[in-house]
Subunit: 653 residues, 2 copies
């Protein structure tokens, strides 16, 4: 016991003796709780400091900047010129030729009338062109959100038996999705979509692509009575229990066009300059197949066609939004999930192309733009829309310079809606199925999955969970499982933080992990541990047990090696970014336990917040290890080594 | 652009020129995925390495150690002697005098017949004496678990109308609680109870004490028609809507005994040596009040009494366990929540006294012991039991040396059950209410709450949430809210990790937070940032935005100060304990973004796992920042400074 007492005051006078400067560990400059709360809120909600451009500007300039902030079109509009317009017209027409057949197809995927897909390719792009900050995003319906919207609503309402109610619910879900997306942006809670990690998205997209493709077996095989479910098991059983409904004419036509479309896709993938081959292929297929059906009257030979479509622009639909209690839960849930999914896709696409062309996309602002677009859409007969992966890539390759390409596309769709609708009457459904499959096949990204497997096995596990969850349970179920596993991993990292033993790299003051750097050496008499996580309620019990095991193992090894006895346990706190009251009790307990063993606990480099709380705990008469603090492990060892020698010799007496 | 290219190969030859040793950053020694998984599982499930004592022992010794591991009584039993027995008898009798009145009271709190409380003070202590490893734990029913059990079951079944069914459900819940507790121990998932942090427990206990005390107003005021609910609002409204039922005789008697009991408690708190005053007070009060009622026939004057109790030992009750579907959900839920709560109390009490008397309590083993105790209990007419805070403290103060004090207590209860039951017939309920209030009043720990307020405002917020949640919603609701807030805080710390700017402490190689250490100075041409959290999917977007803001702010400041231009951004990774694929993409993206601005990204001290993944990503042809790695910030700055000077002069040309 007398060792402990003599060694308590080792930081003071001995520093002078050993002729070495020991740096004091000081608490950070004091701040009030209010200031801290303000800083914390700013970091949480405004990490990008969106108002910094307003600082120090005259009032008029502030107004202009404010208007430009809300309507990015005011930013680039004044500098718009003919050369840009030329590029935008070419890219706009290119994506229109994709958007028209895809719009019709995706609406069918969502169990909605085909015309809704065209409506949704007209109004939302116009809204986005005014509000959005991405220059490459091609806006419209997308496959996965369509699939989820359709399958979730179908759980409660049959689109065949109650088409009007189904349509109402689709618009209302879109309305809630928009409200939800805009709120995320306004409340600056955009980080919620970050929880859909890249690994999850790779697995989710691949699974969704397979589910979407399987659904197309209905039109590709010409089956009339098809399952309402989405899982791989019911769909396959439905396919093979209905072999009597297979129609060879449909299968032949579907196969030919599928090969044609996939070939076109292959060509464009090989030579990006030939992007127009795959971009134009769907419309070409639609025209070709329609002509074929018309010429051979194929609708009388087992090939199902779209049928008559209404002409004219989007009717207003705000009177179709239905907030009745009976389906309110369903539409809110559907809006939430499709809202998050489509937001994730839109933001990810926007960021990808912004990084390629080196401009900034403000995530929270984009959320408001996409949200508002869907709110307006839900009132003008549109269902959920966002920026689509495939079409945006085509838009970019076709040389789009600004959001004007979206306007060009919308105008083209408008012309179609006004004058060309009768032409689609004879379009066979089988071609729409082939178009969807060709579009979603690109979502299966095997090389990316392989890369994840090579780099991080746990992320790969998450990816596979998302994939299998989507295929065997449901799209939203797969997502929930994968996000749950990801969050569980984070919590496990906190609950079981790494503690590593440090050693000195000879000839330096550097201390590093003994198991990592083989040249690192232990210092006799010292056990130097580094905790690599915040210390809080979730891990104090573990850390306590782990540290006493470190000490016991060390003592056993020393006994074997007949080295000097252990005197000091140094905890390097450089990686402990935060601490709470449980963590403070832990340090107090460890200190007490050490003293009972005749050891002394030394803390090294507690960071700002930790130092502050240690000091506060000390002031509150909780006896903390405030008398043995050092700024670096090197200084601690140098300064305490003298005491070790003294103690060792007194032990031998 | 040419700067970037020339500065790419700076780590090699220049080190020689500047005559300084630069240490190489190496990846950790390779390990297979299986080895890593094994290590990770060991750290997660066996942090205390429970099998280490078996290592290198002969087979016979292993068997003995194994038996002692399962039955700790074999460990201390052989050395038991008369002196220890004397201490244990005194402490055993002391806690028996507490356990008998408390057992009856707590059973009433759980809406169970009073005799069940005595049964529960007989079998479980015997089981624990054989299996448990704590020497101070006094086992029996406890107030909070009793309250929760009673209130949860009462949501579906009325104890007054269906007393038999209610009893069956209580035993079945106890059975599930035991199964759940033992499974946590066997599966070594004990860390789940760590999520009930100390701050939560302080708030929860205080709230529960108030709820329990309010329930006693029924017997203290003599109200006959009392609410079935637990919240503060319905209870108070019930009290003041039934003023006609208040009975002055009951109130007078209750008041007198409450004052007596609280005085006794006060005396013992002031002088711990007089522990027997508060320990004996409840039994004295019961005897005194029973005599009073008997003498004055007070039961005819508005004072309600317990009534006739059955004599005899615990009847078997395994045939009363009911696994019918109609109430299965309820009993599983009740078992889960009461199981966790009572486990937390038992383990916390065990650890507290183990720390005081300096022996080890194995958490997972204790869970198995407590779980088995409840499984056996549920088959022998006992409801949920655990180690009680207050009684264990009395046990410790009364000098208990081993678990034999529990056996002595059980024997005393047995004698009571066999011969003394008729004596309790005239015990007034009002005294039981006073005993409960005196027992739970100690759970309100205002100084501890004040300490939390002083040290950590967020923890205090969690504490208050638990407190208010328990009072206004329900015990389980309050707990769920508080745990949810705690986990949300951890996730927020990960989502918004701290990044700090480092500066050099003059005259040293030490780099520390510029805002914390005022003497730290910037190095011209370098921006040194430290990330203080694992980099993963949840924070890469934030980090990206935050780092570009750091750079912009730095450049603006430098422009104002007309200092040299920025050339290098150094990321100190010492506190980045883990990284995932999103984190690796983040580093790649940052590096690319820097190159576009003409800056170079330098990484310092990536830890084992991070280094390994960086290398793997590099091998997979993902271009990472592997060419500019340094072991310390000091070495990076020293080695790159030459290049900075060269670049600055070439800039001026």
């Amino acid at each position: 016991m007398e060792h402990t007492q003599t060694s308590m005051s080792n930081t003071g006078p001995q520093c002078v003796e050993i002729d070495m400067e020991v740096h004091k560990v000081v608490p950070p400059p004091p701040k009030s709780t209010f200031q801290k709360l303000k800083n914390r809120l700013k970091e949480t909600l405004f990490p990008d400091d969106p108002l910094r451009q307003f600082k120090g500007q005259p009032l008029k300039k502030k107004w202009i900047l404010g208007a430009q902030y809300i309507f990015p079109i005011l930013q680039w509009g004044p500098n718009y010129n003919l050369k840009l317009l030329k590029s935008d017209i070419i890219s706009g027409l290119t994506i229109a030729s994709l958007a028209i057949p895809q719009g019709i197809s995706y609406a069918k995927l969502a169990n909605l009338p085909p015309i809704i897909g065209l409506y949704s390719s007209f109004v939302p792009p116009l809204v986005y062109a005014v509000l959005g900050s991405s220059r490459d995003l091609a806006v419209g319906p997308v496959s996965i959100a369509s699939l989820i919207l359709g399958s979730m609503l179908r759980e409660e309402v049959s689109p065949a038996q109650e088409p009007l109610l189904f349509l109402q619910l689709a618009f209302t879900s879109t309305f809630f999705a928009g409200i939800f997306q805009a709120s995320l942006g306004i409340l600056r809670l955009g980080f919620i979509i970050d929880f859909l990690s890249k690994a999850i998205l790779i697995g989710f997209m691949a699974g969704a692509a397979i589910i979407v493709s399987l659904q197309q077996l209905k039109s590709l095989l010409g089956i009339v009575h098809f399952t309402n479910q989405m899982g791989i098991v019911p769909v396959m059983s439905s396919v093979f229990h209905r072999t009597d409904e297979w129609s060879w004419q449909t299968i032949l036509m579907g196969f030919c066009f599928l090969v044609l479309l996939l070939l076109a896709r292959h060509v464009s993938l090989r030579k990006p300059k030939l992007f127009w081959v795959s971009a134009g292929a769907p419309l070409t297929s639609v025209i070709l197949s329609t002509l074929l059906v018309f010429a051979f009257k194929a609708q009388n030979h087992g090939i199902s066609i779209i049928g008559k479509l209404q002409e004219g622009l989007n009717p207003l639909s705000w009177n179709m939004l239905s907030f009745q209690r009976s389906h309110l839960g369903l539409v809110v849930r559907t809006g939430l999930i499709t809202g998050i999914i489509s937001l994730t896709e839109g933001i990810a696409v926007g960021r990808t192309f912004a990084a390629i062309r080196d401009y900034q996309v403000d995530g929270n602002k984009e959320m408001m733009a996409i949200g508002l677009m869907n709110i307006v859409g839900s009132c003008t007969s549109c269902y959920i829309t966002t920026g689509a992966f495939s079409r945006s890539a085509v838009n970019h390759n076709a040389g789009a310079k600004t959001a004007v390409s979206n306007i060009v596309m919308a105008v083209t769709v408008m012309v179609t809606l006004l004058f060309l609708m009768p032409l689609f009457c004879y379009t066979p459904n089988v071609v729409l199925g082939a178009i969807i499959i060709t579009a979603v096949v690109g979502l299966i990204d095997v090389p990316a999955a392989y890369l994840v497997w090579k780099i991080d096995r746990f992320d790969f596990f998450v990816l596979v969970s998302a994939f299998l969850g989507v295929i065997f349970i449901s799209a939203q179920g797969g997502l929930a499982i994968a996000v749950g596993i990801s969050i569980f991993k984070i919590l496990l990292q906190i609950t079981r933080p790494k503690t590593v033993m440090l050693g000195n790299i000879p000839g330096t003051d550097i201390y590093r992990n003994l198991h990592h750097y083989k040249e690192a050496r232990r210092i006799p008499g010292f056990l130097i541990l580094s905790i690599e996580a915040p210390v809080n309620f979730a891990n104090t019990t573990y850390l306590n047990e782990r540290i006493s095991r470190w000490i016991e193992e060390y003592e056993v090894e020393e006994e074997v090696a007949k080295q000097s006895n252990l005197h000091y346990v140094i905890l390097d706190m450089s990686a402990v970014s935060a601490i709470d009251t449980s963590g403070l009790s832990f340090i107090k307990d460890v200190k007490k336990a050490m003293e009972k063993r005749g050891l002394e606990l030394v803390l090294v480099n507690p960071l700002g917040e930790v130092m502050e709380k240690l000091q506060r705990a000390n002031k509150a008469h909780e006896f903390m290890a405030m008398d043995s603090l050092f700024l670096t492990v090197g200084e601690a060892v140098a300064s305490l080594s003298f005491t070790v020698k003294g103690r060792t010799s007194s032990n031998n007496v």
